[in-house]
């Protein structure tokens, strides 16, 4: 199953830094995460970028066992 990683405010909202979710594409993984983590997480997701294996991705991108989907709220390094 693909791994979902979540950071910053998304990690707070999820209550975890990452876990595996079933799904054949990015959208399915995110929907499963919203269902498990609830509306607080869905709110953060709406203002976040989504990466697949370190590159920007859309919901339609296909995913498999070794793939990593990441939820990146607005960044604040520096």
């Amino acid at each position: 199953m693909p791994l979902l990683r979540v950071f910053g405010p998304a990690r707070d909202a999820a209550g975890t830094a990452g876990e595996q979710f079933p799904g054949a594409d990015v959208g399915a993984v995110l929907d499963a995460a919203c269902e498990r983590y609830g509306p607080g997480f869905a709110d953060v997701l709406r203002r976040s970028a989504v990466w697949l294996n370190g590159e920007p991705a859309t919901r339609a991108h296909a995913v498999g066992d070794d793939d990593e989907v990441a939820v990146l709220p607005p960044v604040s390094g520096g």
Partner: protein, 157 residues
């Protein structure tokens, strides 16, 4: 501590205090007469928030260094005459006045060194997957001054 021997870019994400003086020394080359260094330090206030006492930085570990390298690459494509570039970011818990980020750029002339250093810190803030949590006397929260993450190649200053 310095990077790969012979390389002219040095990127680092670490929980240890940043090697500011080492990076500055490393950036000096005989062909370069100008070295510009930017240090970001933990400030006692942020937009709308006084009494900040500490910061905690979290990063997407596997991708923070590659994104720093992309920032350096975007500077080199604009200023091919650049000598060395160091981009160092600390993560974990930082107290007041500690250095969270260091940018060093050397060039033959000062105009390019200043412009490249400024470009690097602006692009780093907009593209590198790092998140900052601010702690003050009464609580803590994620920094309100944040950017939707972009790619270094898309940042036009």
């Amino acid at each position: 501590m310095p990077p790969v021997a012979g390389a002219d870019d040095w990127v680092l994400v670490t929980e240890e205090p940043l090697p500011v003086a080492e990076a500055l020394d490393w950036a000096v080359l005989p062909s370069c007469g100008a070295v510009v260094t930017f240090c970001g330090t933990v400030r006692d206030h942020s937009e709308g928030r006084d009494g900040v006492v500490a910061l905690e930085y979290e990063c997407y570990r596997e991708h923070a260094s590659p994104r720093l390298a992309a920032v350096a690459g975007s500077a080199r494509s604009r200023w091919p005459e650049l000598g060395r570039i160091a981009l160092l970011h600390r993560v974990g818990e930082l107290g007041l006045s500690e250095v969270s980020v260091v940018v060093v750029a050397s060039a033959p002339h000062r105009a390019e060194a200043f412009d490249a250093a400024r470009h690097c810190i602006d692009t780093l803030k907009a593209t590198v997957p790092i998140w900052k949590r601010e702690r003050w006397a009464g609580g803590s929260d994620w920094a309100s001054c944040a950017h939707e993450p972009r790619e270094a190649s898309d940042v036009s200053r």
